[in-house]
């Protein structure tokens, strides 16, 4: 925000500069930063504990007393991470990455193709179909899980990465999200395109799509996060431990008698890093405002 807050003049009005004193401006910024700092710290506390636990022997993690050593390892060790890679967690990580990537790309494409007619095009039964699509995808996965397992087995897709990708490619919220954005684009764009004699495909991909880039990335994120953290479906359909995704693989080292918490924490940290990095480097591209200049 500028130090001088002025409005546009059209010649008839005076420019009314309002100077905000420099000190007060810096103070406001300082307060905002401090508040953010405090909230983030409390919010981040479980994560600090998790990180510390991944870097120390599990016995130290479960001490009864609560003190500074709860959050800072007394003995630092990389054993947990080493063990993770020794038991082949890298494989599971790669499976997760591959499945998530393919699902996000294919799924976004599908969501765009489905959201556009539901928002912009006109045909009988459109709104009912929209409600139907979104509600159908609200059917919780857990309940259709067993019949779906049988279905996929009979199609010969049991224990394949394809079986992991296919259910992750359609997501009701991704379609819903894109539809909302498509709806917010003024109809003039469409009418202009139709007047120019453009086909629907051109209108979708050359006119509308560039205008909803944040929604595209948002829907990709919905699809990606759903796949990255998916648990029940991979645990049912994948029988080979080496083909398993990361989220489920973490629990595979637990047995009736043994549970290596340190190892679990290390693997959890590894699995969290990737979405975190993606968000860090990508967050500006889909939180950036889209220009609402319309027309042109």
């Amino acid at each position: 925000m500028a130090a001088v807050q002025a409005s546009e003049t059209n010649g008839q009005y005076h420019v009314i500069p309002r100077y905000v004193p420099l000190r007060r401006r810096r103070g406001r910024r300082g307060v905002a930063t401090t508040v953010a700092l405090l909230i983030s710290l409390l919010f981040f506390l479980p994560f600090i504990w998790l990180l510390a636990s991944a870097f120390r022997p599990e016995m130290q993690t479960f001490q009864a007393s609560v003190d500074i050593w709860t959050f800072i390892p007394r003995t630092w060790t990389l054993d947990n991470f080493r063990l993770a890679f020794e038991r082949g967690f890298a494989n599971n990580l790669f499976n997760s990455l591959w499945v998530t990537l393919v699902s996000a790309v294919a799924g976004t494409f599908l969501a765009v193709m489905a959201a556009f007619p539901l928002a912009v095009m006109r045909f009988p039964g459109r709104d009912w179909l929209f409600i139907g699509v979104v509600f159908a995808f609200m059917i919780p996965f857990e309940v259709v899980a067993l019949p779906m397992t049988t279905l996929f087995s009979q199609m010969g897709l049991a224990n394949t990465l394809t079986a992991l990708i296919v259910p992750g490619v359609v997501h009701g919220l991704a379609i819903f999200n894109l539809r909302q954005f498509f709806l917010s684009i003024p109809r003039e764009q469409l009418e202009a395109g139709l007047l120019d004699g453009a086909s629907w495909w051109r209108i979708l991909f050359q006119i509308y799509l560039p205008l909803v880039r944040p929604a595209v990335i948002g829907s990709a994120m919905i699809l990606a996060m759903a796949q990255w953290n998916a648990w029940l479906w991979p645990s049912l359909i994948i029988t080979d431990n080496s083909k398993q995704t990361g989220a489920v693989a973490i629990g595979l080292q637990d047995t009736a008698y043994t549970q290596n918490y340190g190892l679990s924490f290390a693997e959890v940290v590894i699995l969290t890093l990737i979405p975190a990095l993606l968000i860090f480097f990508g967050q500006r591209s889909f939180t950036r405002s889209l220009s609402h200049t319309g027309g042109k």
């Binding site: 807050q5 409005s7 546009e8 910024r29 905002a32 953010a36 919010f43 981040f44 506390l45 479980p46 994560f47 504990w49 599908l110 193709m113 489905a114 556009f116 007619p117 539901l118 045909f123 009988p124 699509v133 509600f135 159908a136 995808f137 609200m138 059917i139 919780p140 857990e142 309940v143 259709v144 019949p147 279905l151 296919v166 259910p167 490619v169 359609v170 379609i175 819903f176 999200n177 909302q180 709806l183 917010s184 629907w200 948002g218 996060m225 990255w228 648990w231 989220a247 959890v268 699995l271 990737i274 979405p275 975190a276 968000i279 967050q283 889909f286 939180t287 950036r288 405002s289 609402h292």
Partner: protein
């Protein structure tokens, strides 16, 4: 070339429009059929039988008995009421917190990228991980209670107490989801044209006034999306209950989704479980529909 009459052209255009629309929708609808309609159909048929999952015993037809058994079970009604209570508490809380964070992290300050990533981290954590973490941190003698007593705030029994357990699950759910929804709301807030704020500042409006008169109405659509999506997500929440409370203590966190899974797999009553599933689905549908109506009433629709 003969010019087509206006009516002929528009009906041809309309037919073309419908054809293209259906073509575009075909993949999604095909997958919808395969991934939801058919399995759900099988599941609904199953709700009229009793069977033992994975077993070689063939299922036995019982008609509406599963539904009747369900409705006469007081535990079921308890579940329904608790699920609704949970939904009524957790969704507004999550949404308000996400909105606050989104507003805060679109203000002018240092390192917004870092803050946003930090806020998003809980979502990136696999739910299995966050449940173990919360399980340990929320022990009666654990970190959270220690911090609370340090700040002179009341401590709780969390997952070991009848009252504390639902609160604990609410906290876990909010913590895990808030960063995710925040990202959408940040995009929505950034969407609002600067011109509106500039005009408001000219009129002498402060930050709060600007938020309520400009930001809020203009991000309504996204807000509705977040509320709906969060509601759906919380209705089908299962992993934290299964890992931390197993529906207890004394059934205080026995939400419908957990009850359904337990009935299906552990108590080997898939018929009753699927009858319950239908009820949950109807509840979800009604809640979402109500939210749509409410928000539509509150503001102008576009």
């Amino acid at each position: 070339m003969t010019r087509l009459s206006v009516t002929q052209r528009s009906s041809r255009a309309a037919r073309n429009e419908m054809r293209v629309a259906l073509l575009l929708l075909a993949p999604a609808c095909a997958l919808l059929l395969l991934l939801r309609i058919i399995p759900a159909g099988i599941a609904i048929v199953q709700s009229f039988y009793t069977s033992v999952p994975g077993s070689v015993i063939p299922p036995v037809w019982v008609g509406w008995q599963n539904y009747l058994d369900l409705f006469s079970d007081p535990g079921f009604w308890d579940s329904v009421w608790r699920t609704l209570l949970f939904a009524a508490l957790v969704n507004p809380l999550t949404m308000l917190f996400a909105l606050f964070l989104a507003w805060l992290l679109t203000r002018n300050m240092a390192l917004t990228g870092v803050w946003r990533t930090l806020a998003f981290l809980p979502t990136a954590l696999p739910l299995m991980g966050s449940t173990v973490v919360f399980g340990v941190l929320m022990r009666p003698e654990g970190v959270l209670n220690n911090v609370l007593s340090l700040l002179h705030l009341p401590t709780g029994s969390w997952f070991t107490g009848v009252d504390g357990a639902m609160t604990g699950v609410i906290l876990l759910s909010t913590w895990s989801a808030v960063g995710y929804w925040m990202v959408f709301l940040i995009a929505a807030i950034n969407d609002v044209p600067r011109d509106y704020y500039d005009a408001a500042m000219l009129d002498g409006a402060g930050e709060a006034r600007q938020f309520f008169t400009i930001t809020l109405p203009l991000i309504q659509r996204q807000l509705l999306f977040v509320l709906t999506a969060s509601t759906v997500w919380n209705f089908i929440l299962y992993a934290p209950i299964s890992a931390l409370t197993k529906g207890g203590p004394e059934g205080s966190t026995n939400f419908l989704m957990y009850d359904i899974i337990t009935r299906y797999y552990t108590l080997s009553s898939p018929g009753t479980a699927l009858a319950e599933m239908t009820v949950l689905f109807v509840l979800m549908g009604v809640t979402v529909w109500l939210q749509f109506k409410l928000l539509r009433q509150m503001g102008s629709t576009t």
